[in-house]
Symmetry: C2
């Protein structure tokens, strides 16, 4: 039986092979007599799972040795507070606003720091990317925050900014939740990158933080000890009990990506899927449209609109019948949204385009 | 095939029926075409899972209508900061120190409030319970914190204190992580109770907070919005993406407890298992001992020592061979520890006592 194709923005589709392995190992992991959920996080079995996940992620993203990988909790919204608690030193923080997520990061950082928008695409309804040369960066910024893929608005920063070339010495903080592992990361431009797992990595409840070592140890006194990066790093993510099962699933996803050919292959597939989908959305006689500037379009999250919005419910009902799930757009944007993460096969996008064509023919 | 018996203090053994159901539903929950990990937290499928879990927990613990149930992240250590952020109002906090966990709660609360130990059993090496009449409670305390079961030291407060009878009007905050659902809770004495899931509820990464409504809305300005109880309550735990799979597993555990006969039946079994194990530890000719005062002994976590600690490694190796896993004590206490949560059947404790007898006979 073919599984339906699930276009949820997150929590999102996972590779079938990962789910099958997790199901098979649920009651007994590798002859240990325990399921992974039942293991002490300090026992040798889980430590081996943790270390493999950390090692595989480091390899997949070519994370340099002077960066630490932390497995944390609280998701992107939690991290919006945890980053300024750890990195702002109570000073200035510059945030590039490109959509809902960076807007939330800005608001939350204001609890802890003098946070300002260095640039904003709000006047364009979050459909463009402000050029880095236009960003108003302050000399005393403790860090500069960008969201390199806006899940809700479907805007992706395909190249991370080179702050040094802009004359800025602050570290770059990147929320890469919704494109992580679909492309490489240029670590020479990054101080800290974080990602909620529930898009391209695994289950909700795991947040991955990859942080340059010199940024550890500067937390504000009001930082909860469980969210102090230095505590987490010094204790290999075991300062408090980590979300063990989520880390296990993430580790299976990392293995799956390696077996598929790594991040380069994920990127190749992402480009292929995005070209197919945007190609049709741009050339269908006006029945559907995507409103994001071409150079700012996300490969992962593709919002689109029917010209006649009265057809939305019929569109979604027909999609469900065709085995195309969770296509409804975010309430703040409306319309539809197809999230096309690593686990979505090309066949899923082909099936979506076929349905788009068919629905347009029947209702056009 | 019989599964081994897993005495881990947490993450801990889960009911076999729960794991079997989770494995069976991994790729397709109730014909939805999605596994639970893949569902949007805002879709009708996951909402139904969430609402059933909340309803079943409310029923099992007889939670009154004026208490809200929150599903959060960060575990007990995270909650040690989140509670004073939300409830201290920056004022006085009185903590009853009965072991490692309440000690950590006291230290963390000092980041946000004038936190003091109202009593301590440290002089007794955390093996007794200070009588509530001896607690030094301040008139201006914003709340009084107790840990009603100390997982590491094996000390359990079998009756929650009646603060009003002590002349104290502050709400009682209870960390019940390691006995939740093994006994009822007298909500008339409680302002807030929290529990990390990874002992009696489900997978690590879910924290349950049950809070009286009048305690919402008083968070300090430095509280991360994702950890502000009012935000979490107003958004039915969906202010940020909740740990969906962990909530699903917790819900299956709640259903399992209901099918077994509810919390009263869990308590009956806990008493039966504890009597069997402590009975043997107290009457074995001095080969093994438990050092906790009888009226303070935990039904959930039973630390014990071999009189000849040189036999510890042989004891643990033999236990593993006998299918009795994760019996090593916490490093801060040493010796052994058998955690006997709801999912541990009587047969597991019987097997442990048989092994204790056999090992003593061979080495005594």
């Amino acid at each position: 039986m073919t599984r339906p194709f699930n276009f949820s923005a997150g929590p999102a589709m996972l590779p079938q092979a990962v789910l099958q392995q997790a199901a098979a190992e649920m009651l007994d992991w590798h002859g240990s007599g325990m399921g992974v959920m039942e293991m002490s996080h300090r026992g040798k079995e889980f430590i081996s799972i943790y270390e493999a996940a950390e090692r595989d992620l480091r390899e997949l993203l070519a994370v340099p040795a002077h960066f630490r990988i932390l497995f944390m909790q609280g998701g992107g919204l939690g991290e919006n507070a945890i980053v300024p608690m750890n990195c702002s030193r109570g000073g200035a923080v510059d945030v590039v606003v490109t959509g809902s997520w960076s807007q939330k990061s800005l608001q939350e950082a204001r609890r802890y720091a003098d946070a300002q928008a260095a640039a904003s695409n709000e006047a364009d309804r979050h459909t463009t990317l402000p050029a880095p040369t236009s960003w108003r960066l302050r000399d005393n910024a403790a860090y500069v925050h960008v969201c390199s893929n806006e899940t809700i608005h479907g805007v992706e920063m395909h190249t991370l900014p080179d702050l040094a070339a802009l004359g800025c010495r602050a570290p770059l903080v990147v929320d890469c939740s919704s494109h992580v592992l679909s492309r490489g990361i240029d670590w020479s431009r990054v101080g800290l990158a974080f990602a909620g797992a529930q898009k391209n990595i695994g289950p909700a409840g795991v947040t991955i933080v990859i942080v340059r070592e010199d940024l550890l140890g500067h937390a504000l006194p009001i930082t909860p000890s469980a969210f102090d990066y230095k505590n987490v790093a010094d204790n290999a993510s075991m300062y408090n009990t980590p979300p063990t099962y989520g880390i296990y699933i993430a580790g299976l996803v990392f293995q799956w990506i390696k077996a598929q050919g790594g991040v380069a292959e994920m990127e190749r597939r992402a480009i292929e899927k995005a070209q197919l989908l945007y190609g049709y959305l741009d050339d269908n006689g006006g029945f559907y449209s995507n409103r994001v500037a071409r150079d700012a379009r996300s490969r992962m999250n593709v919002p689109f609109f029917l010209a006649d919005e009265r057809l939305n419910e019929a569109f979604l009902a027909g999609a469900r019948e065709a085995g195309l799930l969770q296509l409804k757009g975010h309430k703040s944007v409306g319309g539809m949204r197809a999230s096309v993460y690593n686990a979505m096969p090309l066949a899923g996008v082909q099936a979506l385009v076929t349905y788009l064509q068919d629905f347009a023919r029947r209702h056009g």
